[in-house]
Amino acid sequence: MNDTAIETVGLGKRYSRKRSSWALRDCSFRLPTGRICALVGPNGAGKSTLLALAAGLLRPTEGTVSVLGRTPGEARELIGYVAQDKPLIPQLSIADTLRMGQELNPGRWDMAAAERIVAEGKLDPSERVRSLSGGQRTRVALALALGKRPELMLLDEPMADLDPLARHQLMGTLMAEAAENGTTVVMSSHVLTELEGSCDYLLLVDGGRVRLGGETEDIVAAHTLLTGPVADLAPHTVIEQRTAGRGLTALVRRDGPIEGPWETAEPSLEELLLAHLRSPDAPDLLTPSAEHRTDTAVRA
C-alpha cells in the first residue's frame, strides 16, 4: 500500500519566463497518507501554486510532484480539489451539479453521500448555483469534491469568506467524511491558527518553499521559548530572539536538553509560526515523516 499522499522533489513553478519570479522554488517534502494537514503561510507564499501542482492543474517548471505514488494526471480520479473561489457552473442547479459529478466520475461517484452533504445544509436541490450564498456555495463545492470519494482532498482556503457558524458546520462535515473514509486532507489558510484544532500535520510555506513540515505536535515540541538573562544559546538553533536590557526572550530549536539559567515554556503554534515568518533565515525543519524518500519522485 502506498503510504505517501504527496511527495515533491525540488519542485519549482515560475509563471512567466521573463520575470524571474518563482511562485515556488526548490520545494521538497512528503505528506504521509491519513493526515489532516494544514498548509499555512502568508498571502502569495505559494500555497495555491503547490495545491494546483498536486491537483494536476499546472505543470511544474522544474522538479517533480507525485500524488499517491503516481503523477497528478494519473491520480486525477483519486483527488478531490476545491479552488479558493469555489468554481461551479452558475447556471446549473444543485441537483444538476451533483449529476455532473456523477457523469464526470464514473464508477467512483457516491450520490447518496453528496446528497447528504447538501441536505445537511438545508439546501433545495433545485436551486441554481448562481443564487447561493458563499457558505452554501462552499457546501456544494465540498459535496462535489467529496462525492467522488477522493483519497486525497486538496482544499485551497476552504473557509475564507465564511461566517464562524458556517465555518464550524462545514469543517464538521468535512472532518466527519474524512474520518469515515480515511481521506488525507490538505487545507491551506493564510490565517495561521485557523486550522489548529482540526489538523495534525503542518506545512509552513513561505517565500516559495516549505520551511516547516511534519506532525504539528512534534514541530511544536522541537522548540522552546526561553526567557532569562542574556547568555550563549549554543548548541540550540535560535529562530528569533529579543533582548531588553539584560533580559532575553528567545525561541530556539533545541539540540539536546536546555541547560542554563532560563525559564522554559512550550511556544504556542502561533508564536512558533510567526517567529519563523519574521526570521526568513531560520533553517527549515522537516520531521522524519515529512522528508522526501525518493530522489526523483514519479516524473510529472
Binding site: A52, L53, A55, G56, L57, L58, R59, T71, P72, G73, R76, E77, I79, G80, Y81, A83, D85, P87, L88, I89, Q91, L92, D96, R99, M100, G101, E103, L104, N105, P106, G107, R108, A141, L144, A145, K148, A300
Partner: protein, 322 residues
C-alpha cells in the same frame, strides 16, 4: 437535444449550453423550411405563368395580379439564394465566436476549468468534448443546410448565381463543412492561447474571417485551367458556365496581349487587329466540370489547416496541465 443519450463530459457540455443548442436547432429548422418553401413557391408560380401565356410587365386585365405575384416570388427566391449563400459563407465565423468564447475561454477565464479538470476526466478529454462535439453538431447542421441550398438551386425557377461565385461555391459543396471544422479548431487554439472570453472571440473570429477571405483568391489556382483561343475576332472561346481566370487577345506567334489593346483611344479596331497580327481572343478558365476537383482540393487544404490548428491546441493544453 436533451442529452439523454450523452454521457460524461458530453452530457455536461450539452446541459450547460442547452439554451444555445435549442436556439440553433430552431434556426436550422426555420432555414430549412425557407429553403424548401420559397423555391417551391417560386417554381410553382413560374410554371403556372409559363402556361398562362401572359406577357410580363403588362397590366392588361386578368394577367396583372398573376404577373405581380410571379415577379415578387422570383424576387424572393433570388434574395433568399443570395442571402443564404452569404449566410453559409459567414456561418463558420459565428461558430468560431461561440466555440472560442462561451464554450472554452469563458471556462478558462471564470476558473470553472479548475473544477472540470479535477474530476476523473483529463483536460484533454475536456477539450475533446469542446471541439469534437461542436465539430460534429455544427458540421452536420452545415452539411444539411448545404444540401438544402443545392436542392433549392435545383428546385427553383432557373439556376441562380454562378457556381464559382464567392458566396455560392462554399454554400454548395463539402468545402463549406470544412470551413466549419477549421473554425472550431481555430477557436479552440485561440481560446487556449489567450484564455479570456472576448479576446479569444476576437482572435478566433478574425482568424476564421481571414481564411474565408483569402481562400477565394487562391481558389482559381487549385486545379489546372483550360486554355482556348478563338479563330475569329468576335468568337468567345470559353463557352457558357465557365469561370474565366484570364482573357485577352493572342497574335499569330501565340503571344498573349491585353483584351483592351484595340479598344483604347477609339482607334480603328480592325486596323489595330491587322497591325498586331491578332488571330483572335483567348481565355484561361475553369470548366463547370472543374467544380468537384476544385471543391475537393480546397476541402483538403482547409482540413489540413484544421488538423494543424487542432494539434497545436491540444499540444498547448498538454503543456499547461498535467
Amino acid at each position: 437535444m436533451n442529452g439523454l443519450a450523452l454521457r460524461g463530459p458530453d452530457w455536461v457540455a450539452v446541459r450547460v449550453h442547452r439554451g444555445t443548442l435549442w436556439t440553433a436547432a430552431v434556426l436550422l429548422v426555420l432555414s430549412v423550411a425557407l429553403l424548401v418553401a420559397v423555391p417551391l413557391w417560386a417554381a410553382d408560380l413560374a410554371e403556372k405563368y409559363a402556361g398562362s401565356s401572359c406577357p410580363i410587365r403588362l397590366s392588361n386585365g386578368s394577367c396583372t395580379d398573376n404577373t405581380w405575384f410571379i415577379a415578387s416570388s422570383d424576387w424572393a427566391y433570388r434574395e433568399l439564394m443570395a442571402k443564404a449563400g452569404v449566410a453559409l459563407l459567414l456561418l463558420p465565423v459565428a461558430f468560431a465566436l461561440f466555440v472560442a468564447g462561451p464554450l472554452i475561454a469563458r471556462e478558462l477565464e471564470s476558473g470553472t476549468y479548475r473544477m472540470s479538470w479535477t474530476q476523473s476526466v483529463s483536460p484533454a478529454r475536456w477539450l475533446t468534448t469542446r471541439t469534437v462535439l461542436p465539430a460534429l453538431a455544427l458540421g452536420a447542421g452545415t452539411a444539411a443546410l448545404i444540401g438544402m441550398y443545392r436542392w433549392a438551386r435545383w428546385a427553383g425557377p432557373g439556376v441562380r448565381g454562378n457556381w464559382y461565385a464567392d458566396s455560392t461555391f462554399p454554400a454548395t459543396g463539402p468545402v463549406g463543412v470544412a470551413y466549419v471544422l477549421l473554425a472550431v479548431a481555430l477557436a479552440a487554439l485561440a481560446a487556449l492561447l489567450v484564455r479570456r472570453t472576448l479576446p479569444a472571440m476576437g482572435i478566433a473570429g478574425a482568424a476564421t474571417s481571414i481564411v474565408i477571405w483569402v481562400m477565394p483568391h487562391l481558389r482559381g489556382h487549385l486545379w489546372p485551367t483550360t486554355y482556348a483561343a478563338g479563330n475569329s475576332p468576335r468568337s468567345w472561346p470559353a463557352g457558357p458556365n465557365t469561370w474565366v481566370q484570364e482573357q485577352g487577345l493572342v497574335d499569330s506567334s501565340g503571344k498573349r496581349l491585353p483584351y483592351d489593346l484595340c479598344l483604347k483611344g477609339m482607334t480603328d479596331e480592325n486596323a489595330c487587329w491587322t497591325k498586331n497580327h491578332i488571330s483572335g481572343p483567348y481565355a484561361v478558365f475553369h470548366r463547370a466540370s472543374d467544380y468537384w476537383p476544385l471543391q475537393l482540393v480546397e476541402t483538403g487544404i482547409v482540413l489540413a489547416l484544421t488538423a494543424l490548428a487542432a494539434a497545436a491546441a491540444f499540444r498547448l493544453l498538454r503543456r499547461t496541465a498535467a
